[in-house]
Symmetry: D2
Subunit: 337 residues, 4 copies
């Protein structure tokens, strides 16, 4: 049960509600946001009765508890959520393929790649205009100019595109261009950003943080869902581990775990997991076999010249071969192709 206080409720009024809930044996938490305080008590039947609560001073309304603990949980909604990106579905039983360069580097590079991945069977274009880089002195993306290139590529190929957003102040702008926006791994726990993308209508990719458990990642999705945006796709891209053979260790068990615990689609990014192109095909096939709803792959026409993460990008021809292999595996596990 959540007790939403009036905007002008005093600290004493909040304290009185908290004290009364605690007196009733509840485990209480208090959230203040947007000038409004929400007091939450645990879900015991006897607390649910609105009668005593809505009449306390400063209380605006009482909200019954979420079934199953989280709105993104299977307990809250049993049916699979299908997320539409433009006219492309993710999570409907088909295999959605997202491909493109890690970063938009130039109009020519992007249009060339977009045409190639479209021809090879991709459904959604990826390409970032804002890149979160470890060092401030490396290429950080073309910004708005990059988004304009992506919009042009959409025009030419008919594919919708997904692009990352890094700053809550850029969400509206990025969403005005992109068909889907992405929260990257570094920002999985950036709650200001999660809330902001939750307040706009474009679908969202939520990458797993490098040190996040599956539970923490699902909680991050709840931050978005709780703001009203239910169009969320989870993206597994590997976690931090100790073996330098790979950049991140792809947690393949996250695929069935997300499927069990949430009603959201799950996509796997083998490129950012491995950090090296030679492992991408094996990891992508594994992800499809494990039940992923989609695969997101870095493709670059000239990987050795890429400004960002060139070592993990497939050449267009290798990507075309991979699409065929992924379709074969998808059929083998009963997915529509």
């Amino acid at each position: 049960m959540m007790i939403v206080m009036q905007p002008d409720a005093t600290a004493d009024e909040v304290a009185a509600v908290v004290a009364r809930l605690r007196g009733a044996g509840a485990d209480v938490t208090v959230v203040t946001e947007g000038g409004r305080t929400v007091v939450s008590g645990t879900t015991e039947g006897r607390l649910q009765d609105e009668a005593p609560w809505k009449d306390l001073p400063g209380v605006e309304r009482v909200v019954p508890s979420v079934r199953g603990g989280r709105r993104v949980g299977r307990g809250y909604r049993h049916e699979d959520t299908v997320v539409m990106v433009g006219d492309v579905p993710i999570g409907d039983g088909s295999l959605t393929i997202i491909a493109g360069p890690c970063a938009v580097e130039s109009r020519e590079q992007l249009l060339r790649t977009a045409g190639a991945v479209k021809a090879a069977g991709a459904h959604i274009l990826r390409g970032d205009a804002f890149k979160p880089r470890t060092s401030p002195y490396t290429f950080q993306g073309l910004g708005k100019a990059g988004l304009e290139c992506l919009a042009e590529a959409r025009e030419l190929t008919g594919m919708p595109f997904v692009a990352e957003v890094l700053d809550p102040r850029d969400v509206e702008m990025v969403a005005s261009y992109a068909d889907m926006i992405r929260i990257g791994a570094r920002n999985m726990s950036n709650h200001a950003l999660l809330r902001e993308v939750g307040r706009q209508p474009k679908p969202v990719q939520l990458k797993r943080g490098r040190a996040a458990t599956v539970e923490e990642w699902v909680d991050a999705a709840e931050y978005i869902y709780n703001e009203g945006n239910t169009r969320i796709v989870m993206v597994e891209r590997g976690v931090r581990a100790f073996d330098p053979s790979v950049r991140n260790m792809l947690d393949i068990s996250a695929v069935p775990l997300i499927e069990q615990r949430t009603h959201l689609p799950i996509v796997v990014d083998p490129s950012h997991a491995a950090g090296r192109r030679d492992l991408v095909p094996a990891l992508a096939k594994a992800a499809v076999a494990a039940g992923a709803d989609g695969i997101m792959v870095d493709v670059h026409p000239e990987p050795h010249e890429a400004l960002v993460d060139g070592s993990q990008a497939l050449r267009p021809e290798a990507f075309a071969d991979l699409v065929g292999e992924l379709q074969a595996v998808a059929r083998a596990v009963g997915r529509r192709v």
Copy 2:
């Protein structure tokens, strides 16, 4: 060497500079920020000669390379940086003790704790008004009202205070109250926030991310430093590991590593590392012995009633005992007490 392009430089002009740098054998990166593109080439002597570069179309000026790779590095500045928080120094060879509740929960709780930690020997008050919580349904802090309580506590005790900021849009407001602002572990790679705190004058605590290597953490500090704010204190608070005995594994080796690699002070937070109060004294003493410039400890007058992280907070009496023990260890390792 960095080549700063004119604001109206065209993509073709940028590409020409990149091509020429590459032709000269440089490893090139391109950054666009604030409407201006910066092309960086590796630091080879023959590239440093400004002559050919500053005359290329679209080039505004040429900046010689940073010595030692990073401005926060020992190679760039040999002397220790001493960060003043109000009139309290961190990094001057003394041991700075920061203490207070994890979160400000009420005026009474804060003032009571502030008085107790001051009496026990703390120099700086901690207490957060904005809390980054795993779930959106748990207490998120009192917001601005919390900052006002902190300001009142400062008035009463004379201690400056440090408080966390979560959203780049709140930086100015939090900085208008606090003597020092903190970037938490979840936001270590939130570059929009790093840049924003880098553009204001209050000193900054930068916590290490749970999955960050020491190198990545130092790179995050460089994002702040590069914006002009040189008053940075690094805070080690444990990294993600596999043993459920502790919430995070305190990486004690980070203390000498930060001292070697940067000129910035290093503080250790044993409370958020262990996540349990019984280990806090041992970890705090270890940190001082390893060379930490300061210790930051959670203290709560009634830990079992805390809204956030009560299990890790020391009671005021235990904290007072600990301060005496820390001073003894500090003296043993040659620190001024």
Copy 3:
């Protein structure tokens, strides 16, 4: 190049060889084993000439260097190694299925499980008579009586069996019963045991240690290979990680990495990775899609009564369903079924 000293070579003679190798610029290591000292120098052409070395006092013979660094490496042998277990191949392009109870608990339990997994399509029976358990007070296996049950199951079903060995003094005895012996994850770096299984002729499964990099695991295989036993199968079973959702994190990238770096077959054990049966089918399919030569699965007729690891064992019916699914995926990735 390795210089094998005579059994009665003196320490001074060894030292003289070492000094001369170092004088020639070599990086030198010294191994004493079985009463005989071996001095190894780095592989530079000019060191390879036997002439000056074999005439030094105390030298018995000179062995030229291993091509490619390791005998299990692709550089040493390009062709895939096919390991025969009884008359069942592993690594010949087919998919080998190994199944049975984690531990032999009784004759009845084993024979019932063996019959069921054989009927479902398994090729090799698993079942351990010696179990390495975290606590000394839990079930440690039936010992020799368990091996006798396994031999009886082989008689009845025609399937060869694999069983773990824990003690170098038991290797001969276990090998006298089993068709294949296993080194478990806990013993991956138990060199006395690795050498002992390397000195007998039965094929060996080598499980990856929980904290081992792929390189360290390959080095452990080299300990076996170097003793003369070339019949080694690598078994990926997950590594230690931070997410309590699974017991170990299956490192799916190990499948293509082992295929690239060694000529040995690779099998995946999804049961010991996940530690929970609901994830086993997804992980097993992922492993086959990634290129595994075989899958090893825990099956138990009454998982809730199992003495060891019951929560991860499939019931026979679920296993039978899984075999069909694995065959479909195997066909999709071009494996013979």
Copy 4:
């Protein structure tokens, strides 16, 4: 409660005991070892009554449960265990310093180092004659000849020595030379070796495995204790983590955890944790401040010529300085020096 069966008890008799315990609601485990089966049931009062159990067919005797779960636990024995190594105590409130080369490389190297560490204040000499190395082609130790050098160094300096044992078949031999024997990190879960050192009287150092939780490490100690050898010293030496700045991440929280949970002494090895000498002093001081009973440090007269782990060894002069610093910290935390 443990029910020890007669040596000739039949499988049916064991099964009957198990069934009856389960019928009484117990969680049952069965251990067969040394030709004798032990059935264990959970510690419920009503099971403890010997009456019904000792009369069942095949039962030899009934053993009441261990208090507190484990014999190495504080619940079983409240007082600190003091382990004597020769005439040197570990765990009596003093600070015990163990030092020497990682490996015995030659008589000259060992005697020179032993003299130096003795002069600097070391109490126990370390130096291994059997080295567990990742690759079979690197120096594996001098074997018995190395133990003879160690015995000579003891003669000359009066210091007892500790040496590692790798093979259960070597335990008797190593123990016949050494004053204390060590189980290394790679063998922490090598139960055959744990049991063998548990059956001989010399004190034992038990290093923590690289992927072991504190609980698993304590369970490994129980394997030794349970065989009758109660002279166990725990050695923390870092665990596997993701930051390549250090070889292992020293888990400083293990010091207070071992002190809380067991009655055994705890020693820290900063050399094998860091893998680099520049961090050794800071880590060693941290360990003493956290409450360690001793420190074990690699010292080598010519680190750049060491055959094993030279990069982590201190020169004798640096070690002498460190001893003084450690004594100052030890005094500051109330340890007798």
